[in-house]
Every structure is written in structure tokens, then in C-alpha cells.
């Protein structure tokens, strides 16, 4: 099988504009006769559904939540990048492109990333026109802040709720089209499978989660905007319902999965507190601007803290190890996410972790509080202010910057982070890997597209902060609405899709058989039992650090677990009514296959890059060693019946506009 990414010819900065001018169009009269199905209503899905409906297509949108507004894009905190250069700090489309390629450790596709940077400025214009209330300065103009891995201020934000505001903007555009009847919205619906007929995507089989009804929906194009698969690890910062099933179903029907092992582990999350833990909560990257990360220098102190005999504030300054500042003096606490996460793991593995579990480090704001307090006191002209006064003033400054995050931490941990350092630990946050797509965002199945986190193309092996929102909206508002026309131009003579065709009948039969198998199994263990067991294998052996031996073991363990799942899982209730355990069982069954493929992918990638760290490939100082000579490609996997027997197809990545360099933050 030969892969063609169909990247337009010509210079990098002209590719998108000339491609847009040259791809085929569908006339307004014909658009009215073409059906498009969109799976997922996060930033990518909502924006795509709204845009396509505005253009005149007949759109059906699906989400498993009770409203499109609940998609997990809503939880993104920090911001959205755009090369507006409002701050006049030398930002440009090229710089945003370069930072993203470098941040991704040179494992993404140049042309796609450049297009992302190019349309980024339009996203901000669009959102403001829709009434998204971004943060503004006193002149009434838009404000910016900085994020990790870059040297400019290009991040637009709405306090710590940027994702919420952007999603509600896209939701409002979607609502406008639903109100007009141009989009038919299916809440509480899950895509159960893709229908492929004569090699083309022709629709989906869906299940109404409220009633259990199975439905057939024909379409001339199907867009997957179903998000990432971080929940394969059981514990992650994803929502409880976030799942990889739509992507996995597409994979089983022939779509290639690319770089599935590229997972982002975010360094600053609230650590696990017990076995019952259901999810992990992120603390925004922006906190690392002012927070200093440390563990005790002496093992004895760490042990005393774990035993509850000592408090962090008891440990003297000289007995603290600010390990990021020590190891990476030039970037300090603001090293990229993958580097910060590995460093925390290294300290905890060595026995310096805090928290009862030993799996946590401190994020301390006391220096910042003191520094800001002194500045405030100076500005107020206070002479010899007391220490209490300085702390009081400093806490106010910190509150203005991060108040809502501190409040969130206190709600969860019942500890006041102004007075005692936060405890944090890395957690699974985002998946850079996903369904393989060409330049048009079309998968290798004609008519099937993948947008946003569901595809693989833009973030390489590590995503930079504030770039996920940018990609979701870029794909949905500005890329897919144009590129689907190129394919649909050939579909204007097809007419309505026949949902009584053999392909629909057979696919529905497959779906029903699987549901019956799950519900009639009546085994002895809960779905969560298997999800937790899978998560532990993945975290221990395919998490922040991986090695060949562990990955081989993981593949065998996952196979055994999957076999046991199908024998022993117990799904209560009925299939013909609301039954969240049944929904969950289907998703976990898919994770049990996807996890195995992730391990295979990690095993074959004999290098360390971005979020993928192979212990065999590191420098003496423990830094990642990339191998551009042998691994400058995207690993695209074709399903053959067994996840770990998937066939590897390589898409060579060519870099014509950037020079491949080793990332160094020392």
C-alpha cells in the first residue's frame, strides 16, 4: 500500500492559498443534495458542522453527551495561539510554524503545520465576531500571554476558561444552523461503526444512548472529530466519556492509525489520592511561570513527609532540590511538558517523592508571593514593610493571576496553596497520534475525514501549550469545509445513500451482535475492573518511559486481559434503554485493542522523541536521543485482524524549510 499525503506543490507559504483556489467546488444547488455526518461536537466537530451547514450541505451532528456544549474542549484552560503579532514582538506565521515543528520534535508534516499557523489569525477574528469574550486590556484591545516553548506572546485567553468560551462560540454557530434546520443534532448518540461500501465511507451506525435504539445514517462524507484516546490509561485529564471508539472503528474498517504511541503526559496535575480515583485534574501550564518545582534534597526528609511527620514548610531552603532549575538552568521551570514530566518521574522513582504514595512533587509559589509582595510594597511606597504585609500583598497579586486555579486545587485537596505548596504529578493529557489523514484531512478511506485531536498531523511527538484549541478550530472552520468539496464534487450524481444496502445491513448486524455479546455475557467482573487493569499496564509500560522488554510484556498482558474481558465481564441492565455501563463496556473493549497497538508502535520506534521516551535511547545525562536517519517518518498502521499484527506503512517526513536540530533546554 502506497501512501500519498497529496501535499500541493509550490513554496510552503503558497501551498494552501493555491490549493484552495484550485480544488474542486460543489455548486450551491448540488450541496443541498449532499449529506455529511459529523461525529463529535468539540471545537473541531461543532465548527465543522456549523461551517458546512452554512455552505449549504445537509449536516447531521452526533455527540454522546446530553448537549453538544459538553464536549471536552470545554475544559481547556490556558489559551489559543495565533500569529497576530499584536504585541509587536516579532511574531509571524513562520515563527508559529517553526515553534510547532520544533516543539513536536520534528515528527509532524511541514505543509499541514504551516497551514495551521497561516489560518491561526483568522480564528481570532472569527471568534471575536461571534462574541467570544477574550481577555482585553484597558484600551479595549485583545490581551496576550506567553506559553512554554516559545519566545513571543501569542496566546489569546479568557481567564482560565479559554476552551469553554471558544467551544460556546462554536456551539452558538452550530445552534444557529440547528435553529435554521440546516444541522440535525443527535444528542446522547454514539457512533457504533462506519459503513464502508465499495471502498468509500457511506454513513454510520449509531446508537441512541437514551433508548438503546440502533439507527442507520447515510452520508456522502463522514467527519470524525471524536477527540483523543487518552482514557486508554484509565486515569487521565480527559472527561469520563472521552473515548477512542470512533477512531478505532474506523481503523478496523481500514483507516490507518498513525503514531498511536505519541501521548502527552502533562507535568502539572493533581496527584492520585486512592484506588477509587476516577480521573485526574490538570493545573494549567501557566502556573509554571511563577511556581517553582522541588522535592526534598534528603531522602530522610521525603520519607518523613510521606509518613506525615513533616510538612513541606518545615524543610529549609538549602534542603530543597529545585531539580528543573538544577538540570535545565536556561529554561528552568518552563521546560516543555515532556521534559518536565520525565524529570518528576525520575525524582519520584529515586525515592524523593512526596504525598503518601510517593508519587508527587511540590509546586511552590512562596518565592513568587514574596517577590510580587516586595514589588507591590515598593510601588505603594511602604518603608520597611513587615514580612506579613509583603506576603499579604504578594498573595493578592498571585490571586489575580491564578485565582481560579488555586480555588480549584483547594476544592479538591482541601489545602490552601497560598500557604503550603501544591502537590503535583504528571498525568496523561493529550494524544498526538491518531487517524492518518492527507493534506485534505481525508483518511485513506475516501469520504472519511478526521479533524482535531482525532487526527495525527500537526503536533508530531509533542504538542505545545495552547495549540490544541488552535488546531481544532482551524480544521473545523477553515480547512475541512473547503477540502471536502474536492471529494464531494464527484458525489453529486450519487443521489441519496441507500441505507438498506448490504453494507448497512451487515454493519448493523455486526454492531448488534457485539452489543448482545456484551450484555448477555453475565461474567463476574465490572467494566471498570478491566479498564483499571489496562490503565495500569499502559501507565507502567507504555507511559512516561518505555523499554523493549516492558512493551513486549505489555502486549502479552493486554492480549490476556482482553481474552478475560470477553469471558468474564459483567454488563448489567438492558440494551434497549439508557445503560451507561453498556456504553462504557463497548469503549473499554476498543481500548483493549488500541492499547496493544500503542505498545507495538512504541516498540518499533527505536528512538526517543517528544513524549515517546525509550530508555534504551538516551544520553548519559538521561536526555532523549532522536534518530532522524532512521525514524523521520510517521508510523501508519493497517489493521489485519489482530492489533499487534498490524502492518506498518511509513510516511516519510521531508523537511525542506527547517533544519533538524537536537532540542536542548540546558
Amino acid at each position: 500500500m502506497k501512501l500519498d499525503a497529496r501535499i500541493p506543490a509550490g513554496p510552503l507559504e503558497k501551498k494552501w492559498s493555491s490549493h484552495k483556489s484550485n480544488i474542486r467546488l460543489v455548486s450551491p444547488a448540488n450541496k443541498r443534495n449532499i449529506d455529511i455526518v459529523v461525529i463529535g461536537t468539540g471545537l473541531a466537530g461543532s465548527s465543522a458542522a456549523a461551517s458546512l451547514a452554512e455552505m449549504g450541505y445537509r449536516v447531521k451532528a452526533f455527540c454522546f453527551q446530553d448537549s453538544p456544549r459538553r464536549a471536552h474542549s470545554i475544559a481547556a484552560q490556558g489559551g489559543i495561539n495565533a500569529a497576530k503579532n499584536y504585541q509587536n514582538d516579532g511574531d509571524s506565521t513562520y515563527r508559529l510554524f517553526y515553534d510547532t515543528i520544533k516543539g513536536g520534535d520534528y515528527r509532524s508534516r511541514e505543509a499541514n503545520v504551516y497551514r495551521l499557523a497561516e489560518v491561526s489569525a483568522n480564528i481570532i477574528d472569527q471568534c471575536v465576531a461571534q462574541g467570544v469574550p477574550f481577555a482585553r486590556d484597558y484600551g479595549g484591545l485583545l490581551d496576550n500571554r506567553s506559553f512554554g516553548g516559545v519566545q513571543v506572546s501569542r496566546t489569546f485567553y479568557a481567564k482560565g476558561q479559554t476552551g469553554q468560551q471558544l467551544l460556546l462560540g462554536a456551539y452558538s454557530a452550530l445552534n444557529r444552523q440547528i435553529g435554521k434546520g440546516n444541522v440535525k443534532m443527535y444528542n446522547r448518540h454514539e457512533m457504533m461503526d462506519i459503513v464502508v461500501e465499495d471502498g468509500k465511507a457511506r454513513g454510520i451506525i449509531a446508537r441512541n444512548l437514551a433508548t438503546g435504539e440502533i439507527e442507520r445514517h447515510g452520508a456522502h462524507a463522514v467527519l470524525l472529530a471524536s477527540g483523543g484516546y487518552g482514557n486508554v490509561f484509565f486515569l487521565s485529564t480527559n472527561a469520563m466519556g472521552s473515548n477512542g471508539s470512533a477512531a478505532w472503528k474506523a481503523h478496523r474498517r481500514g483507516a490507518l492509525m498513525a503514531n498511536p504511541c505519541f501521548t502527552q503526559i502533562h507535568p502539572t496535575c493533581i496527584p492520585q489520592s486512592g484506588e477509587y480515583q476516577s480521573k485526574l485534574t490538570l493545573m494549567s501550564e501557566s502556573l509554571r511561570n511563577d511556581g517553582r518545582i522541588w522535592v526534598p534534597k534528603n531522602k530522610k526528609d521525603a520519607e518523613a513527609i510521606r509518613a506525615g511527620q513533616m510538612k513541606p514548610t518545615d524543610i529549609k531552603e538549602e534542603d530543597r532540590d529545585y531539580y528543573l532549575e538544577r538540570r535545565y538552568p536556561s529554561f528552568g521551570n518552563l521546560v516543555p511538558r515532556d521534559v518536565a514530566s520525565r524529570a518528576a518521574k525520575e525524582r519520584c522513582d529515586e525515592g524523593y517523592g512526596v504525598n503518601a504514595t510517593g508519587q508527587a512533587v511540590y509546586l511552590d509559589f512562596s518565592s513568587a508571593i514574596e517577590r510580587y509582595g516586595k514589588t507591590e510594597a515598593n510601588q505603594m511606597g511602604l518603608e520597611n514593610p513587615s514580612r506579613e504585609k509583603i506576603i499579604e500583598l504578594g498573595e493578592k497579586v498571585v490571586e489575580a493571576k491564578y485565582g481560579n486555579l488555586f480555588e480549584m486545587y483547594q476544592k479538591i485537596k482541601d489545602v490552601n496553596p497560598y500557604k503550603s505548596p501544591m502537590m503535583i504529578y504528571p498525568a496523561v493529557h493529550y494524544t498526538m497520534g491518531g487517524i492518518w489523514v492527507d493534506y485534505n484531512l481525508m483518511t485513506n478511506i475516501p469520504g472519511l475525514y478526521a479533524l482535531g485531536e482525532a487526527n495525527f498531523s500537526d503536533h508530531g511527538a509533542n504538542r505545545l501549550g495552547a495549540s490544541a484549541l488552535m488546531q481544532g478550530l482551524a480544521d473545523g472552520y477553515f480547512v475541512a469545509p473547503y477540502t471536502v468539496g474536492d471529494y464531494l464534487a464527484d458525489e453529486i450524481r450519487t443521489g441519496d445513500i441507500d441505507i438498506n444496502s448490504d453494507a448497512f445491513v451487515q454493519t448493523e448486524k455486526d454492531v448488534v451482535e457485539r452489543i448482545d455479546k456484551l450484555i448477555n455475557n453475565k461474567g463476574t467482573k465490572t467494566v471498570d475492573h478491566y479498564h483499571r487493569a489496562l490503565g495500569k499496564i499502559m501507565w507502567d509500560k507504555c507511559g512516561m518511559a518505555r523499554n523493549a522488554e516492558g512493551l513486549k510484556e505489555a502486549i502479552v498482558e493486554i492480549q490476556a486481559l482482553r481474552e478475560e474481558f470477553w469471558k468474564e465481564v459483567n454488563v448489567p441492565g438492558r440494551k434497549d434503554m439508557y445503560n451507561p455501563e453498556l456504553d462504557k463496556a463497548g469503549r473499554v473493549a476498543d481500548f483493549l485493542e488500541l492499547g496493544e497497538l500503542m505498545c507495538l508502535d512504541a516498540l518499533t520506534r527505536e528512538e526517543s522523541c517528544g513524549g515517546h521516551f525509550r530508555e534504551e535511547h538516551q544520553t548519559e545525562e538521561g536526555e532523549a536521543m532522536r534518530d532522524d536517519k532512521n525514524f523521520a517518518f510517521a508510523s501508519c498502521w493497517k489493521y489485519t485482524g489482530e492489533p499487534s499484527k498490524a502492518e506498518l506503512i511509513k510516511e516519510e517526513l521531508t523537511f525542506e524549510n527547517v533544519e533538524l536540530k537536537t532540542r536542548s533546554y540546558k
Binding site: 465548527s47 456549523a50 461551517s51 452554512e54 453527551q65 446530553d66 448537549s67 459538553r70 471536552h72 475544559a75 497576530k84 499584536y86 489560518v119 480564528i123 481570532i124 477574528d125 472569527q126 471568534c127 471575536v128 465576531a129 461571534q130 462574541g131 469574550p133 477574550f134 482585553r136 484597558y138 484591545l141 476558561q161 469553554q164 468560551q165 456551539y171 452558538s172 454557530a173 445552534n175 444557529r176 435553529g179 444528542n187 472527561a239 469520563m240 466519556g241 489520592s273 486512592g274 477509587y276 476516577s278 480521573k279 485534574t281 480549584m408 476544592k411 479538591i412 482541601d414 472552520y477 477553515f478 465490572t526 471498570d528 475492573h529 459483567n570 448489567p572 434503554m577 439508557y578 451507561p580
Partner: protein
């Protein structure tokens, strides 16, 4: 700690429903409320019983999906908190905890603690948007300056998570706080001014059609709102609506 839970069980929209009692033991105070229900559900499944159905997703207080009425309060004890952020340390050993769904005619029960909040979506579809196409060919973002005060107040209104606690808390099951938050967000911004009159008329009309009650300024909605949406928004919506009613339709 040990607790006695009294939970509303209703097997589908047509079932009459009843309260059922479940003792739970060894509850860790560090657990979130929903994790406590997870543990109960695992136990029920192991005993061959049906788990309690409830809505939840992000479990970090932003998606607005969780919706439990606990001990007579939307999202349980504590101010500015969603059920998913509520932790068991807010309860005492030996306590009886009563858990019900949102109760409102406009929010029919689907199962147990799960209700249908589609009415909220339909109100938004009636006019909760600015009519601008998503072409990207709009004017530059900074060509529309917005005074910081207005932008901040619009943001505060826009933080509504659409959970429905306001409706559940209101003795009239009024949706005024929810609707007014969206009306206010756009009324405060220049982008939203063009369609302001039309918007408020359409959204209020849809709100009434859905069967929500009227507002009698009790303020329970504001007190229970997990994100602190202010009653000021209701006042603003009334003003907008009055203005729109007195002017001729477009």
C-alpha cells in the same frame, strides 16, 4: 466513614419512581461525591443489581453535565461548586444523604438521576448567537475595541455552564438566570447589539414554550449557581425585553 444514602430510582421516563436506601461503608473523606457513587455502583453490579444512573463527564466543574440534588440543594452543600467537585469531607460519619434528580417539568427524567435538558439547547437555538458566518473573512479582531469593563462583565455572564442548577433550585422552576446569562453576554458586546432585540424576544418566547416558570426574584438560583452567575443579568434581561417589547418588531 459510613453513610446512609437515599437515592431516587426511576426505571425510565414512564416509571413512577421511588426513593431507595443504600448503606455505604468505608467512605474515604478524600473521595469526590461521584467517586463515592462509583464505588456504590461497583458494589451494586457485583450484587447483580442495577447501578444508579447519573450524568457526569469532565469531573472538573466545567462541562455542566453533573446534576444531583443533594440534601435539598442543587450540587449539594457548599457554595460555587458542582457535584463533581464536592468531596466527602463535607459530610459527617453516620449522616443520611438524600440524592434526587433535578426536578422541573421542563427537565423530564430519563432514568434515576438523569434528566433531559434539551430545553436549554432549544432556547439557545432560538437566538443565542451572533449571526455571522464562519468564513473567517470578518474584520480584524482588534477593529472592534470593547471597554474592559464590558468585556469582563460579558465574560462573567458567559461562564454559565448550563447545568440547570438554577432551574432545580427555583421554586417556580424558572430558567431566567440561564437565559439572562446568554442575553447579557451579547447585550454587553458591540457584536451582539445588532440583533439584541430580536434575540431577547426569541429566547424568552422559547423559554416560555418549554414550560419553565416565571421569576419572582427569590434569588435561589444565584445562591446555588456553581459559577456565580449574578442576578444582575436577570435585571438586564428584563430591561432588554421591555425595550424590545416596546419597539416594533424588525
Amino acid at each position: 466513614m459510613n453513610l446512609t444514602l437515599k437515592i431516587w430510582r426511576q426505571n425510565g421516563p414512564d416509571d413512577k419512581g421511588h426513593m431507595e436506601t443504600y448503606p455505604v461503608s468505608d467512605v474515604n473523606p478524600e473521595m469526590s461525591f461521584l467517586e463515592m457513587i462509583d464505588v456504590l455502583n461497583e458494589k451494586l453490579i457485583a450484587e447483580g443489581k442495577e447501578p444508579v444512573a447519573f450524568d457526569h463527564d469532565c469531573r472538573e466543574g466545567i462541562c455542566g453535565m453533573c446534576s444531583m440534588f443533594i440534601n435539598g440543594e442543587a450540587h449539594g452543600p457548599g457554595k460555587r461548586i458542582t457535584t463533581c467537585q464536592l468531596h466527602m469531607r463535607s459530610f459527617n460519619d453516620g449522616e443520611t444523604v438524600i440524592i434526587e434528580p433535578w426536578r422541573a417539568a421542563a427537565f423530564p427524567v430519563i432514568k434515576d438521576l438523569v434528566v433531559d435538558r434539551g430545553a436549554f439547547d432549544r432556547i439557545q437555538q432560538a437566538g443565542g448567537y451572533v449571526s455571522v458566518n464562519t468564513s473567517g473573512n470578518t474584520i480584524d479582531a482588534n477593529a472592534i475595541p470593547v471597554p474592559k469593563r464590558d468585556a469582563d462583565r460579558a465574560f462573567d455572564a458567559a461562564t454559565c455552564i448550563g447545568c440547570g442548577a438554577c432551574v432545580a433550585s427555583c421554586k417556580n422552576s424558572s430558567a431566567m438566570l440561564f437565559v439572562s446569562a446568554k442575553v447579557s453576554q451579547f447585550a454587553l458586546l458591540p457584536q451582539g447589539k445588532v440583533e439584541a432585540k430580536d434575540r431577547v424576544r426569541k429566547m424568552v418566547k422559547q423559554m416560555d414554550l418549554e414550560g419553565f416558570g416565571n421569576c419572582t426574584n427569590t434569588g435561589a438560583c444565584e445562591a446555588e449557581c456553581p459559577v456565580g452567575i449574578s442576578l444582575e443579568n436577570i435585571a438586564r434581561m428584563n430591561r432588554e425585553y421591555m425595550g424590545a417589547s416596546l419597539s416594533s418588531p424588525d
